[in-house]
């Protein structure tokens, strides 16, 4: 009896994040095609189809589909211009591809039985490090050693500047950590919560009204969170890019 009860509530909300070879078994080598790589492929195909089909008519007066595609494009485009200025447009393709990768990963991750690759710290950490390293290099290439003025806040009182320098340097190197953990944490937490409630609903059977309502509520919230997190990751990338392009405070 006790074993049965344990079985009923045998919920493992973190199991959905386990990386397995796509073929089902075998060892996991660095090149093995995994369930995670499969969902990345689906994201890639979805995004490509979305944009290619959305722009297939190349209509001057767009239909609803094309409007959606154009809105997505204009949204990120204006974000880059507003935050990093027109100079930042040179790096728009990279930022836009990053946004689409994260957004598609987050949105497709909401499908039942799917895999949310953006909930993995290795993935988000990798993305954040790409941004961090490229932005830092760009800062030095564009401004030389003047880029270091980012840490030396000339508008602050002289006595405070060394303290602020320390804070600024630490905060600069913490950027990739916060950048990646924010996204992975949000994705993981939301999906885990849904899985927990789904476990309750499964265990309670037909009477599981409360868990189902909870799932619907959390799912609604998650739909908002997945878009916001993709937006936040992109906007922070733009902010870091702006710091590299215009380091003076």
């Amino acid at each position: 009896m006790a074993e049965q009860t344990e079985n009923q509530f045998n919920i493992h909300p973190m199991d959905q994040f386990i990386i397995k070879p796509f073929s089902g078994g075998g060892d996991l080598a660095w090149y093995t095609f995994t369930n995670q790589a499969f969902w990345m492929t689906l994201c890639f195909i979805s995004v490509t189809l979305f944009f290619v089909l959305g722009t297939r008519h190349k209509a001057l007066v767009p239909d609803r589909f094309q409007v959606a595609v154009e809105m997505l494009y204009s949204f990120v485009h204006s974000m880059v211009v507003d935050i990093a200025g027109r100079e930042g447009l040179k790096y728009f393709p990279f930022i836009f591809s990053l946004f689409l990768l994260i957004l598609a990963g987050n949105v497709l991750g909401l499908l039942p039985y799917s895999f949310t690759f953006t909930s993995h710290i290795a993935i988000t950490g990798c993305l954040a490090l790409i941004v961090f390293v490229s932005v830092t290099f760009l800062g030095f290439i564009k401004n030389g050693f003047k880029f270091l003025s980012l840490f030396w806040i000339s508008s602050a009182p002289l006595a405070l500047r060394p303290v602020l320098l320390l804070i600024e340097v630490i905060s600069y190197f913490v950027r990739p950590v916060s950048h990646s953990i924010r996204l992975a944490g949000n994705m993981m937490a939301g999906h885990a919560v849904i899985k927990v409630f789904a476990g309750f609903a499964g265990a309670m059977g037909l009477g599981a009204i409360a868990p189902v309502i909870a799932i619907m509520a959390v799912y609604g919230l998650e739909m908002l969170v997945v878009v916001i997190q993709a937006y936040v990751f992109t906007i922070l990338t733009c902010v870091y890019l702006n710091d590299a392009l215009h380091p003076g405070h």
Binding site: W30, A37, V52, K58, L60, E70, F117, C126
Partner: protein, 177 residues
């Protein structure tokens, strides 16, 4: 069995399973590159093409609208100019017509005055003739009357010429005493 299953599937936090990191990094790098290539060489060119052709159309429309506006303004100016010219011409025509009318009226008046003067002179002449004839007739009748009276009331005979002269003197002096 359940316990075995639990051991097999539950893995704490799979995110912290460092053995999967090389595989994850490998695939994310590939997909970042793929996304970048698709966005850079397929998606953005298509959208920029649409947006730029739309912008071109909008610019062309705006330019055309500005040209139409300019044309409309020119036409308006032309209309105003034509109106002003027509107004001036109308004023000129009015004033010249007025002058012509005045001239005609003046000449007609002059003609009338001349006619009136001529007719007055003729009338005066005729009146004088009538007056003269009337006086002669009056003198003749008076003379005849006098001759008749003298013949009836006296036996004296007076020459008609004398009577006529006397009557004529009386008429000239306007006195019948």
């Amino acid at each position: 069995m359940a316990t075995e299953n639990k051991v097999e599937t539950s893995a704490g936090m799979p995110q912290l399973d460092f053995t999967t990191f090389p595989n994850q990094i490998f695939w994310i790098l590939i997909f970042v590159l793929l996304f970048y290539l698709v966005v850079r060489y397929i998606i953005i060119p298509r959208l920029e093409d649409i947006m730029s052709s739309r912008q071109d159309l909008i610019n062309a429309d705006i330019q055309q609208a500005e040209e139409f506006n300019k044309e409309a303004r020119q036409i308006e100016e032309e209309i105003e100019k034509t109106m002003a010219d027509a107004n001036t011409e109308a004023l000129n025509i009015t004033s010249s017509t007025k002058m012509q009318v005045n001239d005609k009226v003046e000449s007609a008046m002059k003609e009338i005055q001349e006619t009136v003067q001529k007719q007055t002179l003729e009338s005066e002449k005729r009146i004088n003739q009538i007056e003269k004839k009337s006086k002669e007739d009056v003198q003749k009748i008076a003379t005849e009357l006098c001759m008749d009276l003298i013949a009836r009331f006296s036996d004296n005979t007076i020459k008609e010429n004398d009577v006529s002269k006397m009557v004529g003197d009386q008429i000239k002096g306007n006195s019948y005493d």
